[in-house]
């Protein structure tokens, strides 16, 4: 089997339809008799609800129904815990409080944007007007917004019956930090603050639900990253069997994490409402709702300490941090666990003490957003490296190289437990090589020795930064795929994952095309339809290409074996002499002796006659793949920035990333993922920050006030590929989806400090902004 497609930079199968506006998105779904939903959302971050009166709303013309928590009866219950707590961690404290479908009279609202009622009407306009008719009598309470305040004994409680705002406590230790500290020549400690941002996908959340009472079946088109899990959880909540519900995730305009949050209040309420009314209902979130009521990420405060020898060797690291989970914690500890496992990064840290407290606050729920806790860990580690380099008079590249895990030390056990509840093991990698490659690509030595002094003499503030990272990807449990050769000779591939733009329709087709000797454009891929494939978990943690891809590979290989078996009989030649080229199976030395895949498919599915016992019909196979643990990708980024000292605007002049994601299926798609990650990383470094006031009000819930980098703000991204294949899967691949987002803020801050070296800044926070940079410059140079 020749690899004609895998590894090739071919254009994507799905692009012609996407670029000409012919692809199906949820909002394109239009059903006869469809109604529209609008949600009454709390304006208060924390309040006790005395009563909700929907009488006026119900009598508005065009309103079909208004539901409150009372109307739901027994269907009202807190959502399921989506990720189990890591009970393998000793002395774990975990207080589960999952989100509720709607706030109830007699209970509280716990964040701005929490639903209190839902209106179903003939049009979205009428539904929104009816929201103003609903009278809610509530008593505002003091809100908790500050993380440390949340833990004070007299702080208002988010969940009264808990008696505390502590959602979780985890302590993990590798080696003995206190001993390491005692032997250190240099100990540096700092407080580092990382703040919240949103994923800001181009497409907001949207659902169309349709209950068919005659067929007793529920169909849900959803902008979800996990159609199968969504089906399983919502059908269970509604009391119908999984088989009665079909979830279709069509093209989705960006996932980035929040769309894997499941049993969202809207999902449950819409499913329940359509069954009650027996009419289809559509709900498309608007941007303000997305800011308030779609999950987000990132608030953490770290108190970190590093202990080193005089020549820059790290003896130990201690990190105590507090993590903001918002008003509820349905996603358990995925994000802070990722932070813990990515703090050590590519470095050898023999003694590592890491502990965190998770607190409830009156803000929106925190679940993974591209990076999913990893950027925080990398930011903390890279800042401490930079401070250590400064303190010891070492070059930032040198101190990193000195502490890196060598290329021959794999698999490398890291001694703490990660988000998949197994011990963190780095499967493969060559970290010094990524550092060296990035260093060369950016021309580090030349910049520092020649260019930077020249810029400085001209009065320009230009700086360079280098940051290294590891990235846990391709975690289990598993995914599956079914490959079928049809009687036309074309191939159909169905897998359970959903697609939000990752190029599955191409990268998976490449795998199948190579195995089966067909044209890559002749492989029709279906993703995200539970009626076609119903076992799987979803797209998250940069796992689609590796986990689903390996399942695709296994299924295609299995079909190939069937093809060769059938063809061998048909052509009367041994299997090892056969090859498949352009949809024809032929004897390698006698090409005229051939049979088409189409013919074989027909023969494999006879309409009459008999078959041998144990025969499976057709040329089809369903296979699953689950890795033993997640493969670790890695890389180094380097950037050169120029800071305008009048406006404090930062321009990224050059951006380099040397990345190792194992075997690459399609370099074009990998580059696209890196570009996307980098733009989110740059956004999180300098533009994007959610601002809450002390009452839990989000003050910048629109793109007028929440800044996203535009294409004109983006540098030209130079990508270098390295490859240490992963031993954990047959294709040797690792994930890359989040790579660009993870190290960028750390590198940005280093580069800005370097550019403003004469101002002697010490930046211990992210994100920055011109305003904040100005404040920091003023503070350091009064």
């Amino acid at each position: 089997m020749t690899a004609q497609y895998v590894g090739q930079r071919i254009t994507r199968n799905e692009d012609p339809r996407l670029l000409t506006g012919q692809a199906l998105f949820v909002d394109d779904v239009d059903l006869p008799g469809m109604l529209h939903a609008a949600f009454l959302r709390s304006d208060y971050a924390h309040a006790r609800i005395k009563s909700i009166d929907a009488t006026a709303a119900r009598s508005r013309p065009g309103v079909v129904a208004v539901y409150t928590a009372e109307d739901m009866g027994a269907f009202w219950k807190p959502g399921p815990l989506l990720v189990p707590a890591p009970h393998s961690i000793k002395d774990l404290v975990f207080n589960q409080r999952t989100q509720i479908p709607m706030a109830r009279a007699g209970d509280k609202v716990r964040h701005v944007g929490e639903p209190m009622a839902v209106v179903i009407a003939e049009s979205r306009y009428i539904a929104e007007d009816a929201l103003a008719d609903i009278v809610v009598d509530l008593e505002p309470l003091d809100a908790v917004v500050d993380l440390f305040r949340a833990l004070e004994p007299d702080a208002p409680l988010i969940h009264d019956e808990l008696g505390t705002n502590l959602a979780s406590y985890v302590l993990q230790e590798k080696g003995n930090y206190e001993q390491a500290r005692a032997q250190a020549d240099v100990v540096i400690s700092r407080r580092i603050v990382i703040d919240r941002g949103v994923a800001a996908a181009l497409e907001n959340r949207g659902y169309v639900v349709q209950w068919n009472a005659r067929e007793q079946e529920l169909t849900m088109w959803a902008t979800t990253q996990a159609p199968i899990a969504l089906r399983n959880l919502v059908s269970a909540t509604l009391g119908i069997s999984e088989n009665q519900m079909r979830v279709i995730a069509p093209f989705v305009g960006g996932g980035f994490g929040p769309k894997i949050m499941l049993c969202q209040p809207e999902e449950v309420l819409l499913g329940w409402a359509t069954m009650k009314l027996n009419r289809p209902i559509k709900y498309i979130e608007d941007r303000r709702e997305n800011f308030l009521a779609t999950t987000m990420e990132r608030g953490q405060i770290h108190d970190v300490e590093i202990a080193l020898t005089r020549d820059g060797q790290i003896l130990g690291l201690k990190d105590v941090f507090i993590h903001d989970t918002g008003a509820y914690n349905p996603y358990a500890l995925t994000v802070p666990l990722n932070t813990q496992t990515h703090t050590m990064g590519p470095y050898e840290i023999p003694n590592f003490h890491t502990e965190f407290k998770v607190v409830f606050t009156n803000k929106m729920i925190v679940t993974p957003v591209r990076g999913a806790g990893r950027p925080q860990g990398v930011f903390v580690m890279e800042r401490m490296m930079d401070l250590a380099a400064q303190e010891l008079g070492m070059n930032p590249v040198e101190i990193r190289r000195k502490n890196m895990i060598p290329a021959d030390a794999f698999p490398h056990e890291q001694g703490i437990i990660g988000q998949d509840f197994a011990q963190l093991i780095y499967d493969s990698g060559d970290y010094p090589a990524t550092l060296e490659k990035a260093r060369q690509m950016i021309g580090y030595d030349q910049f520092v020795k020649e260019e930077q002094p020249r810029f400085r003499a001209e009065g320009k503030h230009v700086g360079i930064g280098v940051a290294c990272f590891t990235e846990g990807t391709a975690v289990g449990p598993y995914e599956g795929a079914r490959v079928t050769v049809e009687s036309s000779g074309k191939v159909s591939l169905v897998t359970g994952v959903g697609t939000q733009g990752q190029g599955h329709f191409t990268s998976f087709a490449q795998i199948v095309a190579d195995q089966l000797g067909v044209d890559v454009r002749d492989v029709r891929v279906v993703t995200g339809d539970t009626a076609q494939f119903h076992w799987g978990t979803g797209t998250f943690a940069s796992r689609g290409a590796t986990v689903a891809g390996n399942a695709v590979n296994a299924a295609a290989a299995s079909v190939r074996a069937k093809i060769l078996k059938h063809a061998s009989k048909a052509l009367g030649a041994p299997e090892k002499e056969l090859e498949i080229v352009n949809g024809q199976v032929r004897v390698a030395d006698i090409p005229e002796k051939s049979i088409s895949l189409s013919e074989l498919a027909l023969r494999a599915n006879p309409m009459r006659g008999s078959v041998e016992p144990g025969t499976e019909p057709g040329l089809e196979s369903t296979q699953y793949f689950g890795p033993q643990y997640g493969a670790t990708a890695a890389g180094t980024v380097a950037m050169i920035v120029e800071v305008d000292t009048d406006t404090l605007l930062v321009e990224v002049k050059r951006f380099v990333i040397a990345h190792d994601c194992g075997t690459v299926l399609n370099p074009l798609i990998v580059d696209g993922q890196v570009h996307g990650g980098v733009s989110m990383g740059i956004g999180q470094s300098f533009y994007e920050q959610l601002v809450y006031d002390e009452n839990g009000q989000l003050l910048n819930a629109s793109f007028a006030d929440y800044l996203l980098p535009r294409s004109t703000d983006m540098p030209h991204i130079e990508i270098g590929h390295l490859c240490t294949p992963s031993p954990l899967n047959p294709m040797g691949s690792k994930g890359v989806g989040e790579a660009g987002a993870i190290p960028t803020p750390a590198c940005f801050v280093q580069a800005v400090e370097n550019a403003l070296a004469d101002y002697k800044l010490e930046i211990l926070e992210t994100p920055l902004s011109p305003n904040r940079l100005f404040e920091l410059v003023q503070a350091a140079n009064p």
Partner: protein, 210 residues
Amino acid sequence: MKLDGEYLFNGPREEVWKLVRDPDVLATALPGTQSLNKISDTEFEGVMHLKIGPMAGDFTGKLVVSAEVPPESCTLTVDGKGAAGFAKGVGHVQLIEQADGKTLIKYTGDFQVGGKLASTGQRMIDTVSKSMVRQGLEALDKALQARVAAQAENRPVEYKPPTETEFAGAVAKDVAGGVLSIAEVRMVLYIVPVVAVLILLALILSRCGG
């Protein structure tokens, strides 16, 4: 959010105090007020139609007057909510007699805003609230002058409060005034006509040439 300022009324302190404590006058001083009903001497409730930038909506609320020292000072507590969000605040008002028969009013206020107003209206809240307060005080001043004149001439008060449209227009002008102070906006307003003239010239000259 803080709202502080002062204003000079053209009338004696006792008259200003009477106006401030008269719900019918207050109702007209802030157009958009659909109703302002007295619950007691110190408590009022009402409905107001507010327009802040692109957001408009009805607000129902309560106004409580406390710590009264007539005609010197009082505290006003406001609590209003509507579809566009909520606003509550406390303001302290001081009336100081001036030598020429005028009255200086000093006010300090602390407000909390929530809902749509807070999340999408941040840029405008400051300008609009200052503008509304100023318009309201100007309207009160005109009412004061009409009343004083009527008393002097012993005839009924002739006073026409500003209409809702006039009021909204004045607020919009204030907001635009804020916008026009931004250099880029001024530049655009300057460049656009210049470019238009250049294009016109080019057209004319090309006609003449051919």
